[in-house]
């Protein structure tokens, strides 16, 4: 395996990377004091690091290629281990029970800090599932999804400031407003496709954020809104600790509700229409599916979850300002969906957990965490382009057919 040729290749890679990182890694110029700092040690590190990493890279590639070759002959779709675990009831039911028990005792076992992180992860599960409707099911690339999140959060915050409405009262209003915005955005972009759609949604997200930032009389501008009350618990006073646990359970409940609804939606007539739209617009229209209504409902129903997630976000952090709703946020939510596995509910949940919890637990690496995060995104996509858990296509088998392949 470690033939001369391989070593030569890796050496070349190492040399190339040493050349590539030379100015930025090694030299630091201070133009004010006119000093140059040379850091040759780093160059050595880059060389050695890339030498070994290139071996690993090639090894992983080779493994992936042989894996693909194995899958190629027999046209039957072979399910991977994870997919089989999900579809098989013997494993999935105990799994769900274990997860529910874990979710129930989580805030009592772990610290307040951990519970808080978990709550944010759950918010991303809900929001990610919402985006999954737009991107994963209907195939409409939305880069401005955070706008609906913002709408939800600001609906709660502003209604609370001006009219003193409570969280539970506003939650449906937030969802409704987000849905409305989703449909409003949906109208002009009906004709656009692919990347044009992506850029318009991106623009829409930025417009809403910038308006919030500049329209001081309405939204309190960049200073944001503070002292947003946490969700009430049947009118009882709660301590901070209790409140965090309560928000956590609210979020668990909402996540379960979302999963339930999205699952039902996916298998409904509308859900199948979305998938058909994603696969082929023209064929879809030929089958008598109203393209306009289907797209608008995808935008609206997707946005609704973001609105609800936003309201909980505002209530959880008790403070919001436009800086929490930048384009990066949209990108992170998109990463949740794609990294997890587009169109797959379990995938999105895993994606949210990994993407939100990973940077938190990578805090040990402090300043390197975003670097590692970026690298993980690339590596993950290169070696598993379908995401962690790829959606299983619904297939129906004829039970009565006497076929050697389905003798059950």
């Amino acid at each position: 395996m470690f033939s001369f040729n391989e070593i030569k290749k890796s050496l070349l890679v190492a040399l190339w990377f040493m050349f590539l990182t030379f100015p930025i890694m090694v030299i630091r110029v201070n133009t004010i004091y006119n000093t140059i700092e040379w850091r040759w040690g780093r160059m050595l590190m880059v060389g050695i690091g890339s030498f070994f990493l290139s071996f690993l890279w090639r090894f992983l590639h080779k493994r992936q290629e042989t894996g693909q070759k194995k899958a190629e002959p027999g046209e039957t779709e072979t399910l991977t281990l994870t997919q089989r675990l999900i579809t098989d009831k013997r494993f999935s039911i105990p799994g769900i029970i274990a997860i529910s028990i874990f979710a129930l005792i989580f805030p009592f076992v772990f610290s307040m800090y951990q519970t808080n992180i978990m709550t944010s992860a759950l918010i991303y599960v809900v929001v990610g599932l919402g985006l999954n409707i737009v991107v994963g099911l209907a195939g409409l690339l939305d880069l401005g999804y955070v706008a609906f999140y913002l709408v939800g959060a600001y609906t709660y915050a502003l209604l609370n400031v001006h009219f003193g409405l409570g969280f539970w009262m506003v939650l449906p209003i937030s969802a409704f407003f987000a849905l409305l915005f989703g449909v409003i955005l949906g109208f002009p972009v009906l004709r656009l496709r692919g990347d044009y759609l992506a850029i318009v949604t991106l623009g829409f997200g930025e417009i809403i954020r910038l308006v919030m930032e500049n329209w001081n009389e309405f939204s309190f501008g960049p200073s944001g809104i503070a002292n947003i009350p946490r969700p009430g618990f049947f009118g009882m006073e709660l301590s901070l600790h209790q409140n965090i646990i309560w928000v956590y359970f609210v979020m668990v409940g909402m996540a379960i509700f979302t999963i339930f609804v999205v699952r039902r939606l996916q298998d409904s007539r509308l859900g199948r229409a979305w998938i058909a739209l994603r696969e082929d617009e023209i064929a879809c229209q030929a089958m008598g599916i109203d393209k306009r209504r289907t797209k608008l409902s995808a935008f609206g129903l997707g946005a609704m979850w973001a609105g609800m997630g936003g309201a909980v976000f505002a209530a959880k952090t008790t403070y919001i300002n436009p800086a929490s709703f930048t384009l990066w946020e949209s990108i992170i939510i998109l990463c949740v969906v794609v990294l997890g596995g587009m169109g797959s509910i379990l995938g999105v949940i895993c994606g949210a957990m990994v993407l939100i919890l990973l940077p938190e637990y990578l805090r040990a690496f402090s300043e390197y965490r975003m670097l590692i995060f970026g690298a993980i995104l690339v590596i993950m996509m290169v070696f598993r382009p379908g995401g962690m858990i790829t959606a299983v296509r619904k297939t129906h088998q004829f039970k009565g057919l006497k076929d050697p392949q389905s003798t059950k």
Binding site: I24, T31, G203, E206, V211, M370, L371, G374
Partner: protein, 300 residues
């Protein structure tokens, strides 16, 4: 009238800057249909490399123009090298994968490069030396147009002419056009598609690097985040003009730069970006594939 002229030239500067970055976007998009999110980072790395080289050379007491030329050349070399490497690592393995996966990979790469520069250099704004000399003959109209702006116009024009020549009249340009039309067909007639994609990345990155050096020395400071913001704006410009089309990218950049400049000058500077995006949204509503984009009807 002076004010109008000032805004016009300011818009032209912005437009040229956007154009230099947008060209790379649009070239890459035209060939592999990928929004290269890391393109802004290439531009940023070009600016940083130029800063480092210029810092060293100015300490050695070299001539200003010579520094500008050498710093630009090294920035171009390094940016192209980065572009080439990024393509090999993050995009090439994903040629057959769903397009969104490649997009996420590009986002990851963009993040990685930002923090790489942040960690290896600094998170603060760095002062960028003024590499472009002040021309004597411009002194009377200095309040309207700075000499660095004139250099930006000239260089942008030269780059555009060279690129047009490359695409239209050379063998490699022909191969690039063929690849962007139909990759499989191009492969069948003997075009080395991998090589063409690499060349596209090299050329696109080189233009971005030139942009990086010029803009950094025009504005006077850089940090690790400049690439992201400039990248988004240039992307908007490229889409406005019709992504995948080179004249479209230039036209889109100019339209965007001009309208931004006039809007800030005459109406309000708070809502400058809002206006830019609204402009984009309305343009795309009426022309769904950009100003110069081909309206390809789908065949069944």
């Amino acid at each position: 009238m002076d004010y109008f002229l000032e805004l016009f030239l300011g818009g032209l500067t912005r437009g040229s800057i956007y154009a230099l970055i947008a060209l790379g976007y649009t070239m890459v998009y035209g060939i592999i249909k990928l929004i290269n999110f890391a393109h802004g980072e290439i531009y940023m790395i070009g600016a940083f490399t130029a800063l480092i080289v210029a810092g060293i050379l100015s300490m050695l007491g070299w001539n200003q123009v010579l520094i500008l030329v050498i710093a630009s050349i090294i920035a171009v070399i390094y940016s192209s090298a980065y572009g080439y490497t990024i393509e090999k690592i993050a995009y090439k393995p994903l040629r057959q994968a769903p397009r969104l996966s490649a997009l996420i990979s590009a986002i990851g790469m963009s993040m990685f490069l930002q923090y790489y520069v942040l960690l290896a250099q600094t998170s603060n704004f760095l002062p960028f030396p003024n590499l472009i000399p002040d021309f004597k003959f411009l002194e009377p109209i200095e309040h309207i147009v700075r000499s660095s702006e004139v250099v930006i116009y000239v260089v942008t024009a030269i780059v555009m002419v060279l690129l047009t020549f490359l695409i239209k009249f050379t063998k490699i340009g022909k191969a690039m056009r063929a690849t962007s039309q139909d990759r499989d067909m191009a492969m069948l007639v003997g075009v080395d598609v991998n090589k063409i994609i690499s060349v596209t990345f090299l050329v696109g990155s080189a233009t971005a690097a030139i942009g990086g050096v010029l803009i950094a020395s025009h504005i006077g400071q850089i940090n690790y985040y400049i690439g992201f913001i400039a990248g988004i704006k240039a992307f908007v410009a490229a889409v406005l003009g019709g992504i995948g089309s080179m004249p479209g990218a230039v036209l889109g950049s100019m339209v965007l730069g001009m309208s931004e400049s006039f809007f800030t000058g005459y109406i309000s500077s708070d809502y400058e970006d809002v206006f830019a995006f609204l402009f984009l949204v309305f343009t795309l509503i009426f022309r769904p594939s950009g100003i110069l984009g081909r309206d390809d009807t789908e065949k069944v």
